[in-house]
């Protein structure tokens, strides 16, 4: 028996039922199957801002987005980075499949300028993604960014410290990321539809250098003291005399 309102929820875009995940959202596949299963629409929401709250930076939150960014890059759309904490390394990004032709790096002097730049880019470049690192934009500012993203069908990703989790936010999707070696643990704080109860574990494997041999026994090496990791490959080629 069709439930009341189900027909409406299926046809009108702004309505969804609380118990089910939304199916008819425009999304960008995340590239991680475990994450896709739990997100409404099975992907990052297009035309909206997704907030990624991290405990500490550098735990795989950037490489989490890489498959999606590579997809956008393949479609010929722009990827804009606004005030990243470190230098995004072009050869590594190329390795993930992102074309450097359509990557823009913006460096601003004040947080206010940073938000302004985000808004300009969100509003006026159709399609693509904007990645911003900002601690506390404020509810109204974030709402403006969300509206700008919707009008231009852009995907925005905002990285914030996890201490901001308690703050209300108009972002369409909020994820909390925490480190859980050898991967990242993701909890969905807010999404359009039913929230996943348990957290999602994404294993991330840094691509290891291909030519070298991985160190066999980490404990043994730490016992030896890593200040002298002399091993056979190094001693053989010494073109310079010390």
């Amino acid at each position: 028996m069709p439930r009341p309102g189900e027909h409406l929820a299926r046809t009108l875009p702004g309505i969804w039922q609380g118990r089910s995940l939304r199916r008819n959202l425009a999304t960008l596949p995340t590239g991680h199957a475990a994450l896709d299963r739990q997100l409404p629409g099975h992907g990052w929401p297009l035309g909206a801002i997704s907030e990624l709250l991290t405990e500490t930076t550098g735990h795989g939150e950037f490489s989490l987005l890489m498959p999606a960014l590579a997809e956008l890059s393949a479609r010929g759309q722009w990827v804009v980075l606004v005030d990243p904490p470190w230098i995004p390394y072009p050869p590594a990004m190329s390795g993930y499949g992102i074309s450097m032709e359509r990557v823009m790096l913006i460096r601003t002097r004040t947080p206010e300028e940073s938000l302004w730049a985000c808004e300009q880019v969100l509003r006026d470049i159709r399609g693509g993604a904007v990645l911003a690192w900002h601690d506390d934009p404020g509810f109204t500012r974030l709402r403006r960014l969300q509206l700008a993203a919707r009008s231009a069908l852009k995907t925005g990703f905002l990285f914030r410290p996890h201490t901001m989790a308690h703050q209300a936010s108009p972002a369409a999707l909020r994820l909390q990321l925490s480190a859980d070696p050898p991967g990242t643990r993701i909890r969905v704080l807010k999404c359009q539809g039913q929230r996943a109860a348990e957290s999602i574990f994404i294993r991330h494997s840094p691509h290891l250098p291909g030519k070298t041999r991985p160190v066999a026994d980490p404990e043994q090496d730490s016992a030896k003291g890593l200040s002298r990791p002399q091993s056979a490959p190094m001693e053989t080629h010494q073109p310079y005399a010390h």
């Binding site: 479609r75 470190w86 450097m100 790096l105 290891l208 990791p229 091993s231």
Partner: protein, 468 residues
């Protein structure tokens, strides 16, 4: 067609004022020993200031009168700019600097722009928008057109000029005052009477110049003029009647300058790419450079960028003069938009305008692209680039995604080794040679980092990147 600017000096002075800022302004002639008022604006006129009055008398009538000396150089520059604007309507323009007048040949332009009346109205409107009041007159010969401009007449081309100007008084003619006085003494009052005189007698009495002039006036003798070519740059400045130190109040005079620039660009079918604004105050001047991605002449776009730039500008002293210089006028192309909007692709026009706005407010180097450089040393193997340069990047999937701007020293005991070593030894040709062993390490919190042990130049353990 002849175009006269009878009150050019006053127009130049009041151009920079918005309509709400009315104050009494008078132009005085600074050459002569006794300084006399040449012209004044309506506010001063209502208070009783008249042309020919001594400056001291005028100051007595209106205490806060602004006296501006007449600047012939500025008037010449203004005439040059007006000539450039009129170049849009005619390809044969001549400047008459002595009288602040311009002559245009519009017979050939009538087909494109419409009847004489329409051209007149268009020109008057355009110049009024820029702040210049002009008198326009048309006739078949240049001299007759100048006469017509003085009286505001439009003599149709097929008619006999003599008939139309017969009733006008003698002082409309461009003759020497002595010659006019002589004709007056002889009893002639109207031009028609002078035109009917026998030529030989007239030339004997007043000289051949008068007869020559009358011939050129009626069209009996041809009057070839040398054409004028417009310059390939734009330079305009405006003295502000009231010193202002708020950047918002500066928008109005700057808008006037930009309007003039855009009208000039349209007339010449050119675009501007580098605009240099200068705000001059007592201690010096502030320079504002505005750059467009492509040569453009859209007033809204330039004003938008200017507003962003002025937003962040701090004025140290009240500004007295603003000026705009565009050193090169570049050929302009109109971009064609496709009829059907492309949903999936991006619009390059949108990117360009966003770039301009970002660079106007954040600075030229704030927005960059990335590219890879073929070099084994990680810190040299990437670079920023201008967004319109080609980007090539080799792909190295096993490198960390984040690179620290400077390698940071670390204590390697705190880290767990995951993979390594990878020897990089290179760079002897530019003095930054290095010999390093790279390892992938993990710290207590679980972050995976890229560390290296350097043998030279500075031995030790450093962290260089982050796999995040």
């Amino acid at each position: 067609m002849a175009l006269e600017c009878p009150r050019l000096a006053l127009d130049l002075a009041t151009r920079g004022l918005a309509s709400g800022q009315e104050c009494a302004i008078a132009i005085h002639d600074s050459d002569r020993r006794r300084q006399a008022i040449l012209d004044c604006n309506p506010v001063a006129g209502r208070a009783g200031v008249r042309a020919g009055m001594a400056t001291s008398a005028a100051l007595g009538l209106v205490t806060d009168l602004k006296l501006i000396p007449r600047d012939p150089a500025a008037e010449r520059a203004a005439l040059e700019r007006l000539a450039t604007l009129c170049y849009r309507y005619s390809s044969q323009v001549e400047k008459l600097e002595a009288d602040n007048a311009l002559l245009l040949e519009i017979g050939g332009s009538q087909r494109l722009f419409g009847h004489t009346r329409e051209i007149t109205q268009c020109l008057e409107r355009e110049l009024l928008q820029l702040g210049y009041r002009v008198r326009i007159g048309t006739a078949a010969t240049p001299e007759a057109a100048r006469l017509a401009a003085r009286k505001g007449l439009h003599i149709p081309p097929g008619a006999r000029i003599g008939q139309h100007i017969a009733r006008l008084p003698l002082d409309a003619l461009s003759l020497e005052p002595a010659q006019k006085a002589a004709l007056h003494k002889m009893g002639f009052r109207r031009i028609g009477e002078v035109l009917r005189l026998p030529r030989k007698a007239l030339s004997r009495r007043l000289g051949t110049g008068v007869v020559d002039y009358l011939d050129r006036l009626t069209g009996a003798r041809p009057d070839p003029r040398k054409g004028w070519r417009p310059p390939e740059h734009f330079c305009s400045s405006m003295d502000l009647a009231a010193e202002t130190s708020s950047s918002q109040a500066l928008l109005f005079p700057l808008q006037r300058l930009v309007t003039e620039l855009c009208a000039t660009l349209r007339a010449r079918d050119r675009g501007a790419q580098q605009l240099a604004f200068e705000l001059r105050h007592e201690q010096g001047c502030e320079a504002l450079q505005l750059g467009l991605q492509q040569p453009g002449r859209s007033e809204e776009r330039i004003m938008l960028l200017l507003r962003e730039r002025l937003h962040s500008l701090q004025l140290t002293a009240p500004v007295r003069q603003v000026s705009l210089q565009v050193p090169r006028l570049l050929p302009f192309e109109i971009l064609h938009e496709s009829l059907f909007a492309d949903e999936s692709g991006t619009d390059s026009e949108g990117i360009r305008s966003v770039l301009e706005r970002l660079q106007a407010r954040l600075g030229q180097r704030a927005v960059r692209g990335l590219a890879g450089v073929q070099d084994h040393r990680p810190e040299h193997s990437w670079s920023t680039r201008e967004l319109d340069e080609p980007a090539t990047c080799h792909s190295m999937p096993h490198r960390p995604v984040w690179l620290f701007s400077q390698p940071q020293r670390c204590r390697i005991e705190e880290y767990r080794l995951l993979a390594g070593p990878e020897r990089i030894e290179t760079g002897w040709w530019d003095g930054h040679d290095c010999r390093r062993d790279y390892f992938v390490v993990q710290d207590d919190t679980g972050r995976v980092l890229w560390a290296f042990h350097e043998y030279k130049p500075q031995p030790g353990w450093y962290l260089q990147g982050l796999f995040a």
